[in-house]
Amino acid sequence: MLTAKLLHTLTHPNSAYGAAFSPDGALLATVSMDNTVKLWNAATGEEKARLKGHGDGVCGVAFSSDGKRLFSASLDKTVKIWNVNSGSAEATLGGHQQYIESFAISADGKWLATGGHDNEVRLWSDNGSPAGVLKGHTEAIYGVAISAEGKYVASAGNDNQLLLWDFAAAKKIAELKGHSGPPQCVSFHPDGKLLASGGSDAKVKIWNLPAGDLQTTLDGHSQLVKCVLYSPRGKYLASGSVDGSVRLYDARIGTHLLTLEGHKNTVYGLAFTADDRLLATAGYDRTIKVWELGKKQ
């Protein structure tokens, strides 16, 4: 039986939007509507640094594959690349004409994607070079994901569209239909054969790739599902909701394993360590909770 022990409750002075662990699991980065990125010692919960520079809330964060750089996406329409050691911003990537609301990095760390209220998905290489613009949504993009090696992109929009894209060709492959109301969030399984989506219908749906057919629907949340994330080793699927809970599922068969309670507001972001051992959950209640996952016989 899967268990979870709450290790830390970390705070921002404003709502928390996202989190990311460094590749070695030593650092945790968290982002907030307070316009900052915080770096924490993941083991002790000690705040190490607060990175300031964005002009609006920060909605997404990820470490580079070598852990030396940090990417942060902001409502200020930019992505910043930070030097983790110095805490200084090395580059600012622009292009979106409206708020960025969603952000993702590929599992190999080579590609970034941002979704905006300008209805566009923008793609970037990890050195900050633009790698394409995906146009097809007609309203704000709430969720975006890139498959492990940058083969596929998925996007969820307020126009009710859940779209699957070919990254290299920058072409739409399929529209995945099944949610009632706007899909909110997406995540690729590390093997690239499954896509999970969460919706305003409080459902989590699993889709087979590349066909895009619906494999299963997971119930359990009572309100809109704001975030979904497969763990790096592919064991778990986590979902966070307006109902304040985080649900953990077996990534392969969709069995519900555990529900984490504790947030007092919508869960906006999720992050696993590379070994699937720690899970960070970021909430609109201004907290980030760090959970240690384990097995009980």
Partner: protein
């Protein structure tokens, strides 16, 4: 920060605006004593009455707080459930459980009308629209009270606004002195950011250096004399000096002197800007400071609380933000009321919670609610009002008042009444010399349901 004689914008009359805004309100000079006594005597008031006004910057969602519309379609109804309160028949939002438990001490206005629809503190501070002001401008409520009633004991200013500096300056507006005169502007300890009380480099610890302080005051006096902007400066100077050299004001603002357990009960909060970052913080310490100020002798304390302009994603939905703000407001306001009551101050202290307008019945595509001047809500407590009731009602969708529309000026009329000021008699002259009533008393009177 209390700044005296600091750099400021030179106005067209040659007077530095900032100088008088920051230390104004310390005065009583220029008032007709007979007018003051007349107004107070008419209301039969002898004791120190006070008002704490909590301004919810941005316009709180009436239908998600005090007027839930469970019979409306889902695109209007919202995410929250109503809960019963201590008063049978009155229900409010599930995220205000402590208010529900003390509903017998509260009065809810569900039919606040007359908003000019402007994103600003102006109407909530003055009671009047910003357009077509009389000569000198409308004085804020606190400035009018300051001019009419002066200080309570010479050791504290009559009017304090605790709002900090904000990106959205229209929300940081502490309330203008208007034709009451610059001397009656609020004392604004946080206007340059929360922090130390400093008098142009003179810390409160050094206030015993009377010569230095007098030097600052003399400089101000010379400048004021040169412009003729302040009458009765000697009186003003004496009282300003009394306030600045008294420890009462500094003590009231020093929350480290308060029991930390009580501070915890209020909820403390964050000093960083709430919400989008352009408004004030969600700082319950302000509410505790307000009580301490009133206790020390201040007549009117106003403050901006949080960021209630919830248009939706990506800055969180209306409901995300409500789940963030409502519990903090619930804790802070209810502790304030309990605290005032436990000290025997509640019947003499009116507490008002409101914003500049309500929000749209229909939830927008980003999960937000937009501006809705047609109707709004307000919460009142203390001051001797008849609590435990709801005044007014809106239609099924929360679009407009259907019963007992209550105008902003009726709220001000009620507050003046609670302070012992007769709105049918008290006037202040505008700069053309024309006497002005505090509210349009021919149309608006204190709420008889409350008084």
């Amino acid at each position: 920060m209390l700044t005296m004689l600091g750099p400021g914008q030179r106005m067209c009359d040659g007077v530095s605006r900032r100088q008088f805004l920051t230390i104004g309100g310390l005065a009583m000079g220029g008032i007709s004593l007979s007018q003051l006594l007349q107004a107070e005597a008419a209301a039969g008031t002898k004791r120190h009455k006070s008002v704490i006004m909590i301004f919810l910057s941005g316009g709180p969602p009436h239908q998600d707080m005090f007027d839930l519309k469970m019979d409306a379609p889902v695109e209007i109804r919202g995410e929250f459930q109503p809960i019963s309160t201590k008063v049978p028949g009155i229900q409010i939002c599930e995220h205000l459980p402590r208010m529900a438990a003390m509903m017998d001490k509260l009065a809810i206005i569900r039919s606040l009308v007359g908003s000019e629809g402007r994103h600003a503190a102006f109407q909530c501070m003055t009671g009047w629209p910003i357009q077509q002001q009389p000569v000198g401008g409308w004085p804020s409520f606190g400035s009018s009270v300051a001019k009419l009633q002066g200080t309570t004991d010479g050791g504290t200013p009559p009017y304090v606004n605790l709002s900090p500096k904000m990106k959205g300056s229209f929300w940081a507006d502490p309330g203008q002195a208007g034709y009451a005169g610059a001397a009656y502007a609020p004392f604004t300890p946080n206007a340059d950011g929360p922090g130390n009380l400093v008098l142009n480099g003179i810390s409160l610890e050094k206030l015993s250096d009377r010569q230095a302080l007098m030097g600052q005051l003399d400089k101000l006096k010379r400048e004021a004399d040169a412009t003729g902007a302040i009458q009765g400066l000697d009186s003003w100077q004496r009282q300003a000096f009394g306030i600045l050299t008294s420890s009462k004001l500094a003590d009231a603002l020093d929350l480290t002197k308060e029991d930390p357990k009580l501070r915890d009960r209020y909820g403390r909060g964050s000093a960083e800007p709430a919400g989008y970052g352009d408004a004030g913080p969600l700082l319950n310490d302000y509410l505790l400071a307000a009580r301490r100020l009133v206790e020390s002798g201040v007549r009117v304390v106003s403050l901006a609380y949080g960021r209630w302009d919830w248009h939706g994603r990506p800055h969180g939905t209306n409901f995300d933000n409500a789940r963030d703000h409502l519990p903090a407001l619930d804790q802070g306001v209810c502790t304030l009321i309990e605290d005032l009551e436990s000290r025997g101050m509640l019947k003499d202290t009116s507490v008002l919670v409101w914003g500049e307008f309500g929000r749209t019945p229909r939830i927008n595509k980003n999960g937000g609610r937009d501006h809705w001047p047609n109707v709004a809500c307000a919460l009142l407590a203390g001051g001797g009002i008849r609590a435990g009731q709801v005044i007014g009602a809106t239609n099924r969708l929360g679009e407009h008042a259907t019963e007992r529309p209550v105008h902003f000026q009726e709220i001000f009329a009620t507050l003046y009444h609670n302070l012992g000021i007769d709105i049918n008699r008290a006037t202040l002259n505008d700069w053309s010399g024309r006497p002005r009533y505090l509210v349009d008393h021919t149309r608006y009177q204190p709420l008889k349901e409350l008084t």
